[in-house]
Every structure is written in structure tokens, then in C-alpha cells.
Symmetry: D2
Subunit: 342 residues, 4 copies
């Protein structure tokens, strides 16, 4: 039984962790914290978690009784907390952006923060289990990927060596439900009247998941920014609760046969518990992935076979955050990768 | 040309006033205020009002150049402002609840405020043009009705003398879009994730429109609380931008023929520009009224003909607030009642 | 291991059965049918059921290898199929309205069908496990309750003896998501543009769940139509996928103390796995129940303590249909009542 | 007074024409037709058009009393009807795709129809008033542009000569509300449960508006397919009633200064009644255009100034269909371009 603490358990990612961990046979939540709600019952904030008997503790509480801490707080708070949590002996899955980027200058530019724990960057595993399962298994600190990054990377990386043939940058036009873009934060951006019957792009050319996608594409494939150009990533806000659909435009310097694309994705999907690839001519919608830990992918080309459009669909709160975090926990503690997630 | 000021023009009612007044041939908006946005352009807050060139002034600004002031601020602020505005010579249509109830004790109970201008209560006309057109025409102060009250009163009052036959209280089960229940206020209640794919009752037995409905039913019909019981009113929050649908349960001590109900509503609808009554067997939905100043009504009975269900549909921001306010302005300044509202 | 057949597995209730049964450790789906999709894979119709390998069989197929058949077809088709399925040796949980009403005349009036299998009416258990667990355990045929009936009955029946004090009929103002009011049927009623940003009452005084609520209220409590009047039930269509919220108006001939109401509901909720009662002053919203098999209930009164408003919330596809059907299966086969449903 | 006939007035475009024409001081609707609803009142189908007294006539009715016919029927029906309507002496604004493409082979490929009236192609004006006002003024037949084409062309064409510097094809990632993608058609695609809380791409590389965008970009600017590549256009289905937001990716062979982009759009917007360009750093959302005839545009670049993202927002039923059709009528009959559209 893995003994769990959840720091920042009053947000939507925290709620989703609680929901899935209650169903997990090898995990036991021992401790939940929230600065805003400390002293209140979890069920006061999330009445639908009817079987949860936890009471929110203050955020700074000692976690030395926990085997694993999920950290679901803003990036700056993660920077400050992670060193302390590791010192107290817990392993950590950090859901923030604090330890995903290897370059602290890029980090500073996109997060508008100085990185105060650069010594941990080399030690953090990037928590994309489809590519880093070994590192995750051994890690004391896992940097859980961004929601957009998960959808984009799983829609591109399976093409493997073919990505060396890109002669233009991948363009990722991504559309996210509200829980991936602010959630329960009480501001004008996520007010019902502002979002309902509406749609918009935001943080164009400025979103912090762009360098994350850029870095891991380069680390894990022959795509190179200096050959093909820098990834273009445009997030949009959809009037739905959950889900990210990414429409990805790729251009290859020579035709790539449909069969080759299909085979690479199909092989990858067969090996990966939570990746599904649709047969030719079918593209995913959001409802194929939401409320599950799945990433569902489809691909289409035109007559040239140089232009490919890949569409990937995930639930931003599950495969894009808390489900993936539990998948990482499963690897870290030698449990089945899918335990508690089906 | 009526010269208009709008105090509190950065909320949804203010926006709706601006939208319709721009299309009104006999009105000219001279002044708009907002404490939060003073100094900013209206189009910074509402970019869709593309032809509006106004800049927000501070709330306390002198309005002596205005023939009419629409006051779209919270009830407490109205209590404080109305005496000053009247002194400056402007006529006032107040969209708050400050001057609707004649009994200051009831006011205090439901609004949790003391009434600081009771001397004005006798002078304010209740701005339901279908029943108070004479008083409105002559008034210096019009208390624009609550959105729920408008939908409920127009769904019940046309029954006239028949309401003396009620032997149980009217039950009004009302459902409102978000703009009628908090609007752009930035709190947890109207956050997208809280409202979308959700539905709930709120302020059960406590909503401030209950005494308003109660009072005007008694003033305008033979319904009496001591004979039939106090009106029961339950507001609910619908996941839509706009509209109030009220399902009204009436029970008469003897059967009332369908023909009689139909005739009373039909006659009323013929006389009133903005009231539509549907033929037997048809009930309104929200889309029959939203984006218009209409109240649309239908009625059904069971075999007993003692139980009647009336359904009324309005746009809470238009007939339930700003459209009705303009309808009142038209009466006050001798314009056609429907001017600028079609 | 219970071997399961699902007749009519291409509708939303069928889909929901498949979803939950895949997670059930003691059940194995052996057979699924659909007249429209026979020969196609389940995943062609519901791509999100990624692990389902079933192919739709024709509706008339022999079910003698099944221990239990879930029948999710229209009422008329159920009338025809149930006798045959029972003859083939399967036990049956029927999700239609065919065997819920004991009076065939009432059945004919509301369903506009003659009842062709009246001999089975006395043998069918009404599948509301909170009240009929013994009958369900022993039954060969279970009539799974209507979605509206489930929400209404669980919101009223726990009051038990107090219902003898009602002096007016219960008024049930119910609001349902689209999946409970037509679902995937391709007609104008459930077209996106017709439903979105809209709301309406439908089948007023005519809905077939009214006599179902009426009958079981009388069978299970001292409420009597001739003393208090016939139940008034008004269904409405909400612009959401799932969920039914019922606002129930009760009037007692004498005051009932809040403590007494609270205690009766609390006691009932303690005994029942899937019933939750909220503390005083809190009413449920839809999100407290959707995606679960729960019924969540709250109650409020006014100063008279004679008027009570009860609000109940369920997921129409789960507690209102397929979850409850599985709960019934669990009882029929001696499994834990909550097996596979948490 | 222009005497109007509307052929196919029971769809969403027809409804929108009726809504706006009732407010138009120089137009009078004389005739409306619908094959499905002939003999019924318009208000039976669209109860919210309360002041419309028209009765649907059969589609083939003589229109010789009409000055102008709006044709809102499927493309094949337009092909058949337009020659007859012109013979009867009416001028025609055709809302279908029948007369937009000059190349009948391309037409056949995308519409899967043979073109039966090629002789009219040279005589039809393309009804984009911002670019073809002279031709429209003189035309007997106007081919009203596709909704997606309107949003895309107005987002790209104002760049004028700069489009000769494109070295890659424009990528148009467009997202449309349901009324632009099937509307009231009763199929599975636009069923509420299929669309709500969902999002998907459709007709990828196959949509009939792609060749329309391609053709008019080439006709009206120095962009050339053989130099930059064929336009890539991907439509998506948004869970909203109305609106199209197009995210347009442009890549120039050399940097284009922000000032130059701003100036070209600003100049264009100043000259055009219904085009609005947002100041630097602001992009439109859907709510800035819906319920109006506006196209609202914004632009962003990255540090290279070679990558530009243009976002345009329109209401698909108004500027994307019926509003633009009325704008064309205004030009054809010498009325102010904005008459009846503000």
C-alpha cells in the first residue's frame, strides 16, 4: 500500500487525484492540504466525493509519513516546496511546470520566475510514461507533463525517425476545456458568461507549454528546430468542462505513405496501455477520451502525402494531469501501469 | 431626444441598455459611469459595442445634463444615489430592488439592509408597464421590477378576478440563466465549471423577489395571502446565458374552463405590445423570448380543471431588466411604448 | 460469474451498461444486440468503449446461454420480447415501462398501447432496491424504474408515516438532461440547436412516469390520492447531457419539525449504499450525482414548517437506468449490492 | 420598397433572413416557401418571429411579383432553380455553393454533382461586398459566399500585396457553431448528446469551402498556389449555436513589420462598414461578432515577424450567410450598404 499525501488538494487536479485514488487498491490517501480550506472537510468543497473522510491540513505540514506526495500547486509554490518535501523523505510527483524545462533561461522567460532549485533539474524525470518509464521508475522527483504537452507529444513522437523529414515547424492548434485553462480560479476569464457560447485563442506565441513541447520533441526525435523551425503552438478555450483536442499540421520534405504513418502509430498504440490509434479515415473527438486516461489519435493526409494532419484527444484533468500522475506513481512503486486507472 | 445617463454601465444590465439605446431614435446616451472602469472606454469592456464611443466616468458624477438616469447598481448603492440624482433634476429608472417594496420591514428582512429613503417609497412607480403605465408616465422615480417578478406577475395577473378563487398559494418554480443570477460577478457561483452541465435551486424560501411577487399579486388582484397562503417561489440556476422560464402551479377551489383561461390571457396579450399568449396545447420555451423584450405565456390543465400550470418565458436582461427599463422610459417621455425595442 | 446479454445495446442505456459491466468483476457480457447496427462492432458506435470486443447481433437472437438479460428497448418491443426471453431460461431486467404499472388501463392510457402480457405483471418485481430488495432477489423479471420515478420516489418515500399528513398532492417539478429525454433519437426535439441555450416543460400532465410515482407512493406509504390529491409531475428538458434534479413541494396539515425530517432521511441514507442526505441548509446540485449511482437529497422548510421543499439529484443514465439495473442484478445473483458500481 | 421572396425559408438561414428583413425599412417579404412546411404558418416553425404573418408556399411557386429572391436551399436544388427564377424576372441572391466556383471540374469534385448551368457562372457576382461591390450592384445573380470562406477571406485578403511574400500555404484552422454545420437537419451529427461537451474536426482535406477560399485568394491577391502551396483548411464543430472563429497561420519569406500589418488591416476596416480590426495585442473571441453582421479581426506575430497568426470572428448565420445576403441586396437596389443590419 502506497501512502499518499496531496498538497493542494482543493483544485480540480487535486479533486481528480482523490477521485481516482479512492478506487486504487494499492494506494491510501493519508494527508490532503489546502491553504484556503484548511480545517474544512474535503466533502464541503467537493460534495460528490462522498466516501472521502479527509480534512484539509495546512500546506506546510510535515509529510514524512507519506511514501509519495502529489504536488498540485502553482509553479512558484512548487519551486519552494519540492526541496523540503524531498528532504522529508517523500518521493514527489509535481504537477506544476517547475521541473519540466532543462533550460532555466527559457523557464524564466515563459514563467516569469527565477528558478530557485536548478540543482534538481537534472534529477527530475519527465513524467510521460510512454517515453520515460525507466527514469520514472527510479526517480524521487517526477515532473508531470503539461496537459497540452501530453496531447501534442503523443500525437507527434510516435512518428519517430520520420520527424527528421519535417521541413516546416509542426503547427499545433490546440483547444482545451475550461478546467485546463484556469479551472476554479475566480476571475473574469472563466466566468460562465465569458466562456459559454464563446471561443477564443489565448497566450498566442506566449504559452509556457510551447518550450516544453519543443524541448521533448528535440530530445526524443530527429526533429530539429534549426532545420524545420520552432514549434508553433496556439491554445484556445473551448466551452466545455474537460478535454483537449489538438489539430497538428506536419509537412514533410517528401511524401510519406499512409501505410507508414498508420504502422508507426498502430505499433506504438499496441505497446501502450493508454494510447489508441483510430483506423484510417477516422479522427477522434473529445468524447472518445474524456473521463478516461486515454490519448486517442487519428491521422489524415491530402493527395501530396506531404501534408499530414494528426488529431489527438485527451482529458486534460486525467491523461493531461492527475491520471498521468497516478500512472507515474504506478511505475515508481512497481505496480501495474494501469492500476486504478481503468 | 431624451438625454440619458447610465450609472453602473459596466455590468450586464448596463451593457444591454447601451445595446438597445444605440438603436433608439429618440434617445441619446450622454454619460456612462463605472467605479471599476472609470477612465476606460466602454469598448474595452464590451468590445462588441463597436459603435459606442463613451468613456466611463466615476459613479458620483453630476447628472444635471441628463433628462433620465438609468441606475444599474446594487440595492444599497441605489438607496444612497437616488435622492441625490433626483435633486440634480434627473428622472430615474432604478433597476435595483431599493424602491419596489412598500413595507420597509419586509425590505430589511430580505435585503438585510435598513431603508434609508422611506419617504421616496410612496412616490416611486412600479415599472411594470402592463399594469402601471399611468403612474410610470408621471413618475420622477420608477422602480424597475425584478426579473423573476416580471416573469411571475405576467404569468399570473392576467387571470384577474379568477385569482380570488385560488385556495392554495401559487407555486412558482423558476429557472434562470446565469446573467440573471450574478452575471459578471467573479465568484465561485458563476464560474464556468460550477455552472456548466449543472443545475441547482438556490436561496430557497429566502429570495428577495418573493415579497415583490407577493405584494403586487395582492395589490393588483383578489388573491389574498390569508385565504390562499403565501406565494412559494423557488429560483434555480440554468446553464444558459439568458432567459427565465417560470413554471407556475395554481389550484382553484372550483374548475375553471379552459376557454375562460384562454380568453383572459388572449385579451391581455392583444392589448399589450410585448405579451404573447400561445394557443392551447403549446407552452413556451426560452428561445421564444430571449434576445427580445417579449414575455411569452402558455397554459395547461388536467381533467379536474382545478389544477393549472402556467409557463412564462422572458429574457431576464431585456423584459426582466433593461428592455423593460427602456419601455418605462418610453412611457415617461411620451414616446411609443415599443420605440427602439423591436 | 454472471453471463450477461444486452438486448438493445446501441442506445445510451445500453452503452452505460457496457461501460459499468466491463468494470464489474462478477459479470461477463456474452451477447449484445441491435437491430440497427447488427454486424457492426460496438466500438464503431461507441469508440470510447475501447476494450469492448463485442459485435452487435440481431435483436431476436437466442439468449439461452445467458444467466441474465438486460432489455433496453422501447416499451412495445419489451412487451413482445419478455415472454420469449423468460422461456429461453434467462432472468430479465427490463429497462422499459412495460411491467412497472399494475393497472393495465392506466398503462394503456399513458403508453397508448394495449398490454399483451398482463399475466407477467404480478410476477415482476419493481426494481427500486431501496424498497424491494427481497422481491428483486427472488425475481425472474425485474421492471427497472423510470428515471424520473427513481428521483421522485427516493425524495419522498423516506418520509414514511409522515406522508399520511399530506393534505395536498406532492408537486414534482423535475428537470432532466437530454439523455433522459430522447437521447440519440434523431429528431427535432434533441437537435443541438433546439436544446442548447434553451429550456422547456414537456408532456405536461401526460408523462408516463406520473402514474408510476403515484402507484408506488400509495403502495409504500400512507399517502392516498383521495385524501391529498393526485401527484402533479412536470418534466422539463435541461441543456445538459445527464442528470435529473427534482424539486418536490410537499404540504403537511400540521407543522413537521425540521429535526424529524432530518432524522428520517438520515436514517434511510445510513442504511442505503447509494442514498446520500445533505446536512440542513444544503441542497444538491446535479454535479453531486452525475457519473455515479448516487441519489443525493436535501430538504428545506419555511417558518410554518408545513411547506417542505425536497430536492433530489440523480444521474438519469446510472441511478435512473443502467446503474440501478446492475444494482438489481447484484441482488438477483447474491453479489454485494454495490459490486461494480463504485 | 424591395419586394422579396425567400425560397427555402424553414431553415436557419431562412429564419435569419426573416428576422432581419422584418427590421428593414426598404424591404417587404412577399413570399416564403418550404417544401416540408407548405401550408403552415412561419410562426408554427419559428414561434419567436411573432410579427411574421407569412404562410409557407410550395417551393416551385411563381416569383414574378418579386424584385429579389433569396434562395436558401441545398446546392443541387439551387442549380435547378436559379435559371427558372431568373427567367421569371427576379434577381437572385443564392446562398448555396452552386455558383461560387468558376471551375466546374473543381465543383464536381467537392460537391459530387455535375454543374447543370455552367452558362451562368460567368454572370454570377461573388457576394463578398468588401471586394465585389460594383459587380454585385449590377448583378442579376449573386453567389453569396460560404460562411467559412467569408471568415477566411476577410482575415487574409486585406494584406493585399504582402500575400505575394507567402512562401508556405495559408493554414486555416476554423471552428464553427452547429448552425453552420448542419443546423436543424435531423441526423446524428447534430444531435445534442453528440455535440454538447464535445469537439471534433470534420471533412478534413475535403470541405467544399477550401476551393472557394483558394480561388478568391488567387483572384484577388498575388498569392499563388504554385509558389506558396495549396490552402490548407480544416473545419471543426464547436458546441455553440453560432459563430466561426478562424485561426489563420501565415508564413512570409521575409519579416513583415507589425506596423505594416496593422496599417493594412486598419485602413481596410476604416473603409468597410462591417469589418473591425482590433488594436495590437488583442484577438477577437466569438462573442465580439455573434448576433451582428460584423467580421472582427486581430493579428499576432512572434519575434521572427515571419510567422503571423490572424484570427477572424463572424456570426456564420449573419455575416456568413443571411446578413451578407441582405448587404448584397442593399448594393443591388442602391440602398445604404448597412441598411437594416445595425
Amino acid at each position: 500500500m502506497v501512502h499518499i499525501g496531496i498538497i493542494g488538494a482543493a483544485g480540480l487536479s487535486g479533486r481528480e487525484l482523490l477521485y481516482w485514488l479512492e478506487r486504487h487498491e494499492n494506494a491510501s490517501v493519508e494527508l490532503v492540504t489546502s491553504s484556503k480550506y484548511q480545517g474544512q472537510k474535503v466533502t464541503d468543497v467537493f460534495p460528490e466525493l462522498t466516501t472521502c473522510s479527509q480534512i484539509y491540513q495546512p500546506n506546510g505540514i510535515d509529510v514524512s509519513g507519506c511514501d509519495l506526495v502529489f504536488l498540485a500547486v502553482p509553479t512558484q509554490a512548487s519551486l519552494e516546496s519540492v526541496p523540503k518535501l524531498l528532504e522529508q523523505g517523500a518521493r514527489v510527483v509535481d504537477l506544476s511546470g517547475a521541473f519540466r524545462l532543462s533550460d532555466t533561461e527559457v523557464f524564466s522567460k515563459y514563467y516569469r520566475l527565477s528558478h530557485t532549485a536548478p540543482e534538481l533539474l537534472g534529477k527530475a524525470a519527465f513524467g510521460l510514461p510512454e517515453y520515460f518509464s525507466e527514469q520514472i521508475s527510479a526517480a524521487r522527483l517526477v515532473a508531470n507533463p503539461g496537459c497540452y504537452s501530453t496531447g501534442a507529444l503523443l500525437g507527434i513522437l510516435p512518428l519517430g525517425e520520420l520527424l527528421g523529414e519535417l521541413d516546416r515547424p509542426p503547427i499545433i492548434d490546440a483547444k482545451s476545456g475550461v478546467s485546463g485553462a484556469g479551472g476554479r480560479v475566480e476571475d473574469d476569464t472563466t466566468n460562465y458568461v465569458s466562456v459559454n457560447e464563446n471561443f477564443k485563442a489565448y497566450k498566442v506565441f506566449l504559452h509556457q507549454h510551447q518550450p516544453e513541447i519543443q524541448q521533448y520533441l528535440q530530445d526524443l526525435s530527429p526533429y530539429r528546430e534549426d532545420a524545420a523551425g520552432e514549434v508553433i503552438f496556439t491554445p484556445h478555450l473551448l466551452p466545455v468542462d474537460r478535454g483537449i483536442l489538438s489539430t497538428i499540421y506536419l509537412h514533410f520534405r517528401k511524401p510519406i505513405a499512409s501505410k507508414e504513418i498508420q504502422e508507426r502509430f498502430s505499433k506504438f498504440a499496441e505497446e501502450q496501455e493508454f494510447v489508441h490509434f483510430l483506423e484510417e479515415g477516422v479522427l477522434p473527438d473529445l468524447k472518445m477520451s474524456v473521463h478516461s486516461n486515454r490519448c486517442v489519435i487519428g491521422a489524415e493526409t491530402d493527395q501530396s502525402e506531404q501534408n499530414w494532419i494528426i488529431v489527438s484527444s485527451i482529458d486534460n484533468l486525467i491523461k493531461g494531469a492527475s491520471g498521468q500522475a497516478i500512472q507515474n506513481m504506478n511505475l515508481m512503486f512497481g505496480l501495474g501501469e494501469a492500476a486504478g486507472l481503468l
